[in-house]
Amino acid sequence: MFNFIVSNYNYWIYIVLMMIGFYAMIGKRNLVKKIIGMNLFQTAIILFFISTAAKKGGTLPIIEHGHGHGAHAIQAAAYINPLPHVLMLTAIVVMVSTLGVALAIVIAIYKRHHTLEENEILWQQK
């Protein structure tokens, strides 16, 4: 059991980070803390994807001498998987824009309610 946890520690960290973020999104009352939780949640997913790409002893996925010299067989096992990295580049862009929109909305909320505490806003809306 102990070995199982230690040998896959990256996945365990991803789960722990994600749950911390999840808790902050649901449980915290302050809107900025919620956004921090949201970021943590998304970053945990990046960690998960990047973990799946890693290989023991793998090297950068760049084939030496490029295009025309592809005659020799390529040992796929010697290279780490580039695709999850590419996916995460896109996901990072999405996450940055989500963060931007969320912060802009928080500014709008602050302008109207002059507070960032959820219960105070709900009290004002009554």
Binding site: Q42, I45, T90, V94, S97, I105, I109, R112
Partner: protein, 496 residues
Amino acid sequence: MIPQSPVLVVVIPLIFAFLTLLFGWFRRSFCYPITLVALSLSFFASLHTLHIVITTGTIHYYLGSWKPPWGIEYVVDYLNAFVLVIVSFVSLMVAIYSKRSVEQELPEKIVYFYCIFLLQVTGFLGIVITGDLFNLYVFLEIASLAGYALIAVGEDGAPFASFNYVIFGTIGACFYLLGVGYLYIVTGSLNIADLSQILPNLYHSKVVLVAFAFFLVGVSIKMALFPLHVWLPDAYTYAPSTVSALLAPLMTKVGAYVMIRVMFTVFKPYFSIELIPATTILGWMAAAAILFGAILALAQIDLKRMLTYILVSEVGYITLGVALANRNGLTGAILHILNDAFMMLALFLVVGAIMYRSGKREISQLRYLHRKMPFTMAVFVIAALSVIGIPPTCGFFSKWYLILGAIDANKWIFVAVLLVSSLLNVILFFRCIENAYLEPVAEHSSVGSELAITREESPLSMLIPTLIAGAGIMSFGVLSGKIISTIIQFALPAGF
């Protein structure tokens, strides 16, 4: 020669979104015609796509000629093409309608509004057309981000409602992304067609089960299925009326489309129905959505808020059709995607028009509206009859298929739920119709009160889309047999 229309459907609104920004700097009044041009072109492209699909079958469009599973591919079959036409048509109608309403509600933000409006439509169309799971995630986020921004510019409570939507929407999208990741670990592919071939050998793997669960929960949040609907009523109530009219008919329908895709194309029906009890759980959730949506709607005094709860209940209908998982049930679900898009379009357009003219939207304030806005209220009544499910309107036919499906599946309790919800809808809408059409006896006798009411029909640019939506509800009802025999029976996923 490969037909180019599938890619044009998405690319046109995307490019025009940035053109609106560019031309908007010179003159604000350019934005509206540019948006109309973009959405009409996109609508014609999607009609052309549907035509090609009907004449020659499924279209595969390889972006940049990269062959799948490495490249991203657009796949258009009957189901896609059908939803594409609905999305592009509804958004065109809302765009026509938007002019006066946006000028009144958001006078300084017209340029940005139309830019984000077009991005929103791009997101919807992209979700529907793509044949790649990760690409779908990206489009899902484009649509959601645009939605957050559009909702946040609404009235007083809007930013806070939008913030809640951001939190929920992000959880939904991240769950979807995790599902994609888990499937990628076990299969090494992101292409939907490729996945559906590789997956059957792996159906007993726990990773696949987890992926499926993540997909379902993520999509359920995005389409606001009952226990996960909490973000929807606030967000759609406080949003500007044009935005509610765009998001309410489309976001939930696009979510329903993704659900059908994931359950019956990425995973085979055998997996979703027999191997795990997904359809049973979904069925009960859908039944709860139908009942609680209608019951919560009863408690509302604000007309727009009542409609948002009815929307929650309508999402339940579509999900119920999916969960019944037989031929009639799925036919009902897919037909309801069309019908409900038009019903919600009509209802939210009417509420927007009432808001535009009187600034009021509480049910008790609807009095004399049938004389002030006769055409608008006529459309409201048609849409109301359709939500209730009264024959010549289209709502009857999808409900009919849903009930047939429930009988086929031997789930009599769902039949009862469907009938009870019809009764609840009768109460809901007759409350509004009574307030609008029947005049109080006491005021009848007082002299002069009748003369005080002048006709204030909404402006033509708002009236025409509303009337088209109403005419659509009637004609889809009459033509529903034809729609099913030419499109929907081929749109059913393989195996039904």
